[in-house]
Symmetry: C2
Subunit: 197 residues, 2 copies
DNA sequence: TTATATAGCGACCGCTGGTCGCTTGTCAAG
DNA sequence: CTTGACAAGCGACCAGCGGTCGCTATATAA
């Protein structure tokens, strides 16, 4: 409905979120590139070009979605980091949280995480920033563990990235070796003790 | 050039390879989805629909490329497996080989490995088969190590997948902690000894 | 000479993400 | 009350995509 009166900022946000939700729903159900802007517009109950009043490109909707997901996870992890527990237990708890997040966002990881990789440079940077914040949380935790003396003096950033890189492909495999929980336990055990005798 | 005489099987293969090479070249230079069939046809010096006489779809060209890459790597790894060395040394050599392959196919991993994830089910299966063969090589090596007593009794398939899953994201990161070789060494060390004190 | 089969092609199809100029509706100024 | 400016929304339109189809040209076989 065309209106002559400018939308309040709150209205704009609400509208934007309506479109966002419709898009996310479709992305998760059908995948990113299989969802057309025409479908998003129809689902959100607006015209196609109205989308462009709220998001500069289709990619941008995906970027917002990814950043939001990572940011939410980071916030929850931050809470764990603050607990008065040994680094080891907190690291364990964060990995558990991450597993649960991955499982809860199963469709996202299966259907959309790859689309993220082919976004433009600027989009990548926005996502990278969010991801680095999360990585740094874990990195810092590992450093605490090293200082506590409970971890060997490892390269904390590399280990943080390894841990995170291990989780998704471990859980979403065509040849699982157990339940996701069991696999996480094994992975964590591996990271702690290594495979060497 | 239209001809009434059927191509010999060898001619067909040669033609197919011309198209394949042109496509691979463009894929690596520009990316998969940024390369159009019209460009491939032009580069190969044939008409657009002639492509379809040699490849059923655009995706299929990518699948062939991926399978070929994995198969080549598997063959080289197979050679290492056969060496009369302790499992540990052979595992190390294979990881080194893998690193070199990843670095040699840098463009492929950076630009194309994500496109692979959104191929159709049938394409995925063809690639999976090739990848599983490679995984199983490493899995078997780890089992040998376990039997030798040099490795703890770990879940060999899970560890094989972890090793492979760790390599690419470790080497191709926006925050490297050293040269690829140094990072591989650290990763390998981590897998062997773990982070625990 | 005719019939048949092959190799190759480009016009064409439905679809995509993105753009542009038009319409509609409201407020502010004269 | 009229008019002008402007916000908001829209759908026709664009170039380009992967893929299809029916036609042409050519060579062999009968």
């Amino acid at each position: 409905m065309p209106k002559g009166i400018p939308l309040t900022e709150e209205d704009q946000h609400r509208r934007r979120h309506e479109i966002f939700d419709a898009a996310v729903h479709l992305f998760l159900a059908k995948g990113f590139s299989e969802t057309s802007l025409r479908e998003i517009a129809a689902a959100a109950g607006v015209g196609k070009s109205t989308l462009y009043d709220y998001f500069p490109t289709k990619d941008d909707i995906l970027v917002s979605m990814v950043v939001e997901t990572i940011t939410d996870l980071t916030d929850e992890a931050q809470e764990i980091v603050r607990r008065p527990l040994p680094a080891f237990d907190r690291l364990r708890a964060i990995m558990q949280l991450n597993l649960e997040s991955v499982l809860a966002n199963r469709e996202f990881y299966l259907k959309l995480s790859f689309d993220v990789q082919r976004l433009g440079l600027e989009s990548q940077k926005r996502i990278q920033t969010a991801r680095h914040a999360y990585q740094d949380l874990i990195r810092q935790l590992i450093e605490e563990g090293v200082n506590e003396g409970s971890f060997r003096p490892v390269n904390s950033l590399l280990v943080a990235r390894l841990l995170l890189a291990a989780l998704t492909p471990t859980v979403f495999t065509s040849r699982p070796t157990g339940t996701p929980q069991e696999m996480l336990d094994e992975v964590f055990d591996m990271f702690l003790k290594g495979i060497h005798n």
